[in-house]
Structures are given as C-alpha cells and as structure tokens.
Amino acid sequence: MRLSGMDGKNLNRTMTTHIFNSRVALTLAGLVLALGILGCAAPPPKFRPNLVQAKTAGAEKVTLASTPEVDLPTPDKAPVAGGKDPNAALEQAYGMKLSDDAGKAVIESVVADKPAASAGLMWGDVITSINGSSISDRPAAVKALLEQATWGKPMKVKVDRQQGQQIANLLLAVFGTPDHPERVSADGSPDPTLLKSFGFDIDKLQVSAGRVYSEQSGRQHGLYRLHCAHCHGISGDGAGPTAAFLNPYPRDYRQGKFKFKSTLGAEKPTHADLMRILTDGVPGTAMPSFRILPENEREALVEYVEYLSVRGETEIKLIDRAARGETIPTPAELAGGGPLVPDAEGNVTEPQDENNIVAGVVYTWRMADKKIVAPVAPSEEMTKWLAGEMPKNADGSPASADSPAEKRRLASLARGQAMFYGTAANCFSCHGDSQLGDGQTTDYDFWFQWRKSLDTKPAADRDKVIAEFEALGALPPRNIKPRDLRAGVYRGGRRPLDIYRRIFSGINGTPMPAISVLPAGAAPDPKKGVTTQEIWDLVHFVKSLPYQPLSQPPEQLEALREHQIQ
C-alpha cells in the first residue's frame, strides 16, 4: 500500500523520528529520572513530635512555645560574688546561670526557691528583654541583670520559651533518633552507653533501625522500616501511611499501653508477650503473623518496639509537664536514675527522683516479668472441656444430657452464663444480650481519650476540634467495639489461658474492666465478685459460644437477666 503524497522513504523517516522523539525519549527520560530518584538519598524522615498529645494536654499550648514576661525580684543589695565568670554573681543574686547559645542569652539552670525559679523562669528560656530594653546577647543580659539593676526593685524579664524544641533536644540527648538509636556525644561520635545502662541491647536496636539493606552475609538491616513502619509509623506513633485504611488502627506505642499481654491491668507487657503478638499476629486485625521471620529478627524488632515505646512515653510525660507549666528536667536529670539492668533475680531499683523520667518508664518495663498473671489450675475435667473434649460413655459415644459427667459440664456452662449476666462481671452490658458485641458501642479507648472528652461539647464545636486534632496528625476517631464473642476470633489468643487473663485483668487502654475477684477465704457473694476458680466457668462459657445456636428468644433472655440480677 502506498500513501498518496508521501513516498515510502519519507514515511519511514517520519516514523523513525517520531518514535525517537516521543517513545524513546520519554522512556529514557523516565529511566534517568527513576535512577536519579533512587540514587539521591531520600531526605531523612522527620520525627513528628507528638502534637496530638500536646493538644490533649492543653489546646492553647499546642506548639509548646510562648513568650512570657515575669517580674524578677532582686535582692536588696548587689551580690558580693564575682570574678571573670558572672555566673557566680547571677547565682548568688537570682539563683540562675546564663549560657551563650549562638550569641543568645540562654538560662542554663535555675535553683529551686530562688528568685529566678519563683518568678517562673525555666532552664532553656532565652532572655529577649529586661525592663523594656531588648537583650540581644549574653553580655547584654549580664549587664542588665548585674550592673543596671535597681536593687530591691523587681525587674521585668521577657523570655522566649521554645519547649517543643527543648523536648526534641532532650529526646535526642537520651535516645538519639529512631533511625540512630543512640545519643551522640559532644565530639559527634555515637555513644550507646546510656541506652545500655537502661538495659537495651544496642545491636538489636541497630539492626531494626534505619534504612533497609542487607549485608553480604545476608544479615538484614532496617527491619522496622521493612516490616512495621508503614502501619506503625517511623516513630511508633501508629500513624504510618497505611494506618488510615485499617480498622482497628495500628497501635501507637508512644502511650506505653498494650492490650494483649500476660501481666496485670496497666502493667507493661513482657518481652515474651510482644514476641507472641509478633509471631502469632492479632487475628481479626490487620496485624499479620510474622512466624516465618527468623527468631533473631523478631527478637530485634521487639527490642526496638520497647525502645520506641519508652522514647514515646518519655516524650508524652515531658509534654504533659510542659503543658502544666512545670519545669521540664535538664538532660542530665532526665537521663539519671540508672543503671536499670536487672539483677540475677530480675529485680531493678525503682528510681525515686521524678525528674528521672526515662528511668521511671524503663523501670515499669523491667518489672513486667514480676507482674504476670498465673491463673489457678482448673479441675482436670474443666481442662478437658476447655480443650473441646466432651464427656463420653464407656463405648466412646457422646454422653447423654442426663449422665452425671454431662450434667456437670452443663452446670459449669450455666454458672458461666449466670456470671455473664450477673452484676460482678456485667459482661452483657457491652458484649450484648446475645454476645454479638452489640451492647454499649459508643465508648472510646485510651488512644481516643481526646475525642471522648468532646462528648459533652455541642456538636458544631466538636467537629471543629476534631478537625484541629486531625490537622495535627490524629487519625479520624472511632468508637471502640466490644468483641463479638460468637465469631470465634480472639485477638489476644485463643488459649483458655489468654481468655482467663483478659477476664481477670481486663484489657489495658479499653473500657474492658478487670473482673471483681473475691479475696481468698471470703464468703461467696455473686454480687460482689467471683472466685478465681469460677473464672474458668466463665472462660468455658465464652469458649463454647461460637458453637452454640446463635441466640435464645429475647423474652427468655429478659427473664434470665432479671432472675440473675435479683
């Protein structure tokens, strides 16, 4: 075929040029661009400060920055101390020291109950003006405070207070960054001794932290970014890029609260608990099982999660103190209180100084092994029921309902059911009359406590405040849903042991309370509480629910509940 007005040669050339101009050029440009993007080191990730917590602690102090002006009292006469360094004189007169930070006059420390501290000045404040005249550097501040002071008359001192930045610096001084989990010493070299003194295994932290690569030997680095960060966030804030798609949301480690663990109430989980979650996953949520990761990699990740949690909880405690207007500790105070490496019996000394925030948090982690809930042993028969072994006749056929063994089993189920509807356990109020998790469903868990506090506000204000929180990085709030006990999905594990622990100590951070347990030797009183042995009846009942006909008619339930409550 020939095209009119164009011979084959021209057509050929036009085609070639066209192809070269568009396709090839575009492909080449794309390749170059892609290689360029891959080649250039990605910008270091920003470790977003916990602004949600800051707003929760006090909305008006969201940035934790302020410029207060205080009346600084002066002594009746000039201080006698002096010499080359004016700090001695400043300390005598006002109880504070000044340092020079990039030319600025920065309060290095204040002494409690001395004029500076009682006037409300804090370490880290930058003095910007005294008695109305602006202060640009440390010599000017010294001059104003010591030479131009009218002794006996208070002076107006205005400071620039950047507590958000101070907190970031404090975290850096103790924890390094999540990418480089060790503090950097004055000469710029990494210094792992501090984290080691708190009992962290630096090798494990380093293999989990930072960018993803593998050594020639095959040792994988950057485990956290490879497996966890896209949901749990680079700083463990539970707000990684995929977090918003998940229900329930991924855990925010920074609150130091974990749901599915072997320890009592609000205690920290043990290392083994976190290993279990990582290995088995959390059924019914987006947390998958990491069973086929090598054990050393899972161990390293658990260590790193503990590190992120301690770092985050420290940050929250610092933010809360700053928001309350209290002095935040100096780096030395914050890092003090160690070492916290457990002794042969697994004990560590509890730090006493409340400024040793890191040690205080680490202490709760190191003591978790001492707070494990060990249930009473159930009867031999109960153990069999819980394992799904039904009473049988001698010939192996299922025992009939009027045989003694089956009667005992049914009696145990009935006791469990009575507890479910009883006042001591009060399970039905949330898990619903038919155990479908459709009882009380409007509550919030600990991670949305800021949302819960808005319930009393008018709806219009509520939406505005929610939008403000979301702008700071909070995920859209969701109610906490009680579990559907008939689904046969157990987030914290399906062992009878797990369900016993959920009932015995509740679920930390959620409205699921611990059951009231009668003290040993007390007279039985179903209204006040249950015995630990009776908890097994409740476990037995809960474990049997997925295999029961869905529900009884409502009127019978109503009658049953009234009967049990009276």
Partner: protein, 270 residues
C-alpha cells in the same frame, strides 16, 4: 533503514529462543533462576509436560512468524526494491489452511489437557490423608485442622497460620476460603494455584513427595499488602506431622502460664 529494521526484527526470534535456552539450562546460576522451581508433588510433572508441549507448539509458530516478518522487511525494503507493486485477490486454499490448521491445533490442546484438568480440578481424592481449611485474609494465610474428631466447627479444631504443615506422600485436601477479597493460593513447588473467592469454599488437592519447606504465596493482587502475604509449606513425615499437631493442639489448649511466669497475682475485690 529497511535493512536495519529487518535485522532488528530478526533479533526477536533469535533472542527469544536464546532466552528460553539460557533459562532452561542455566537456572541453577544466580540471577538466572527463572525456570520452574523444584517439583515436589506427585502430579506436578503433568503440568510441566503440558507447559512444555504448549511452549514447543507456540514456539514453532512464533519463530516462523518472526522469521517471515524479518524476511519481508528485508526483501521488500522501499530503498532497495524497485519491483512494481503486485496486487492479488484472496486465495481460497490459503484461507482454508490458515483456518483449519490453528483450529486443529487448538482442538488437539483441548483434548490433550483434559485429563490433567480433571485430575487437578474435578476428581477430588476420596482418600485424603489430611484435610485442612486455608483462609486467605489481608494479608496472611490462616489454617484450621479438624482436630481429633475429624470435623470442622467443633471446639477441638486446631488453628494455625502462615506455615502450612502437611504429611508427605499423602493426598492433602485444602478447603480454600477467603475472609475478605480475592486471594490466590499458590504453591509453586506443588504446581498448585487456585483463587480464593469470598463466600465460596473451593477444594484444592495435591500430594507432596518430598520432605522440606517451600514457598506459599498469594498470586492475586489483593490490596496494598499483597507483597507481604508470604507463607511457607512444611512437608513432614507422618509421624512428625502427627507429633506437631499434638504439640500445637496442646499449646492452643493451655490453661497454665509458661514456665517463665512465676508470680501468683491474686488481687483483692474492689
């Protein structure tokens, strides 16, 4: 330019055949492991044989077509060829040949693979050594064995995930389900691949012939975490498999804390 392009087009069949020759013969070398993974199933060779038959059939057609293309480009290059254009009307014989030949080939393939298809998808084994329920969910594999009573949905079911254990040299019958979206249960070494469809139970079976561990992956894009949906199949001797089942059943029915737990934490009533 015509000669150049005919050469470029001629490279396609040469390189195409070369690629397969290299892949087939040097697949043990690093970076070249793109041939079939090790076959450890009783019926995998049937699938491989089908693949080879169809590869040869399509390969011959592919090479012939590409060689023709290159030849025509070279022979009728506008720069070199001064022959006048020759128009020809359709050829009845030619049309019959190019209709009947592919039809016969397709018909042959359809008949030839029928038995393999029936074995893989229709003739469900009656003597399955183990039945296991496999559920795909975003983004992991969860398994359930029926427990001592041999029935699902009873309290003695044994639950597990990610690492599918099966006995060697026995038919494994999988009840494949999905908890959320489409997944695909893919055991490359067993030559088994089957979509998991929400709301359906699809039976899948295979007979492993070698003890060891191999990949279990999801072969259907199922969401953002599809790439993470990796598992493992562990083939064990019957004795090891039974011991393993008892071990995980005992763990699943545990009522007492692990050896590490010592504190007896009873607390007073509120």
């Amino acid at each position: 330019m015509g000669k150049f392009w005919s050469f470029v087009f001629f490279l396609v069949p040469v390189l195409g055949v070369g690629l397969f020759v290299v892949a087939m013969n040097f697949h043990s070398l690093p970076l070249l492991n793109h041939w079939f993974p090790e076959d450890v199933s009783a019926s995998g060779h049937v699938i491989d044989q089908l693949f080879m038959t169809i590869l040869v059939l399509t390969g011959v057609v592919f090479v012939a077509t590409e060689v023709c293309l290159a030849f025509f480009l070279w022979r009728y290059d506008a720069k070199a060829n001064r022959d006048p254009v020759r128009y020809m009307h359709g050829s009845h014989t030619l049309e019959v040949v190019w209709t009947v030949l592919p039809a016969a080939t397709l018909f042959f393939i359809a008949i030839y693979q029928m038995n393999a298809w029936a074995d893989a998808k229709i003739r469900q084994p009656k003597d399955a050594g183990v039945i296991v329920e496999v559920r795909g969910r975003q983004f992991e594999w969860r398994f359930r064995y029926p427990g001592p009573d041999g029935k699902f949905n009873t309290p003695d079911d044994i639950h597990w995930d990610t690492d599918l254990h099966v006995p060697v040299d026995e038919e494994v019958l999988v009840h494949l389900k999905s908890e959320d979206v489409l997944h695909s249960f893919f055991l490359p070494n067993m030559r088994v691949k089957q979509d998991a469809v929400p709301g359906m139970m699809i039976p899948v079976w295979f007979r492993p012939t070698k003890i060891g561990s191999w990949d279990l992956v999801c072969a259907e894009l199922c969401g953002w975490g599809h790439y993470k949906m990796r598992g493992r199949i562990t083939v064990q001797s019957r004795a090891d498999f039974d011991a393993w089942l008892v071990e995980i059943a005992n763990k699943q029915h545990a009522t007492q804390a692990d050896a590490t737990a010592t504190a007896d934490a009873a607390k007073p009533a509120k």
